[in-house]
């Protein structure tokens, strides 16, 4: 009961804020809605027994990436909004109608596939790692053993991205 209530509340807020993100007139407002959206998603993760992921979600997404967005929005302090000739709300509305149709289709697909094959149970993957709540240590263990190479690749990716971002954003000397 309480679980369902929590889920439906969170779901409604997440979706609502998602709509606000894509339909907000001001980019700064979009960012704000996005932050709140991510925080709510983090709460959703907590209900799914994924505390570590939730904290990472807050730390990296809300505290890092979105700050970056806000930063860029403020740097690109536009005199005029890029959408001065079109009404973003109207566009978003028409888009949402289209999206609703597609979503309905997906619902049909998913529910029909769930009906057709029995709902998957137990571990599907060969490298499944059963876990309990409070799984930070386990997650670290899995991350540094089974997924070591992807983990290192991700770190390289981040390094490359960092260098790339600096190269792109840096004003060249003499400019």
């Amino acid at each position: 009961m309480a679980e369902a209530l929590l889920f439906y509340t969170l779901a409604a807020l997440i979706l609502g804020l998602g709509v606000m993100v894509v339909s907000a007139r001001s980019a700064v407002h979009s960012v704000l809605f996005l932050v709140v959206n991510f925080l709510l998603v983090a709460v959703l993760y907590v209900t799914l027994n994924a505390e570590f992921v939730a904290v990472i979600q807050v730390l990296v997404y809300a505290g890092g990436i979105v700050v970056l967005y806000l930063f860029v929005v403020m740097l690109v302090n536009l005199k005029q909004a890029p959408e001065r000739f079109s009404d973003p709300r109207r566009l978003a509305r028409s888009g949402l109608v289209l999206g609703g149709v597609v979503l309905a289709l997906i619902v049909v697909v998913v529910s029909s596939s769930l009906r057709a094959g029995a709902a998957p149970e137990g571990t599907l993957s060969g490298f499944g790692t059963p876990f309990t709540s409070g799984n930070t240590e386990q997650l670290g263990w899995v991350l540094y053993t089974s997924y070591l190479i992807p983990f290192e690749l991700a770190s390289m990716l981040l390094l490359v991205a960092m260098v790339g971002a600096i190269v792109l954003a840096k004003r060249h000397l003499g400019e």
């Binding site: 994924a50 860029v72 999206g99 597609v102 979503l103 571990t123 993957s125 997650l139 990716l157 790339g164």
Partner: protein, 102 residues
């Protein structure tokens, strides 16, 4: 209806995904398009975490960590591109970013 199954999470995920897609398709501000992409990634993450819980398999959470790392990289490079572009063209309107057309 009152019992929350992975299907519920999948539908939430799908809905958030569609919202993100709509955002990508209809908005003209590149920054907001990027934010919509972040929404899409979050939709995926919800699915992964929910199924991780359902299947009692940590792989899902591991993937979320990777997705977040990739998202961070994507945001850094993408926003760097936006800054560079803005410096040259004084705009972030995606309709004006079209010099690659025929």
């Amino acid at each position: 209806m009152l019992e929350i199954t992975p299907l519920h999470y999948s539908l939430l995920s799908a809905a958030l995904f569609m919202i993100g897609v709509i955002g990508v398709l209809v908005r003209r501000n590149v920054i907001i398009i990027f934010m919509s992409i972040e929404l899409i990634l979050n939709a995926v993450n919800i699915n992964l975490v929910a199924l991780s819980d359902q299947l009692q398999d940590l792989a899902g959470q591991v993937f979320v960590v990777f997705v977040i790392a990739v998202a961070a990289a994507e945001a850094a490079v993408g926003l760097g591109i936006i800054i560079a572009f803005y410096r040259n063209k004084e705009t972030v309107n995606i309709d004006e970013i079209q010099i690659m057309r025929w």
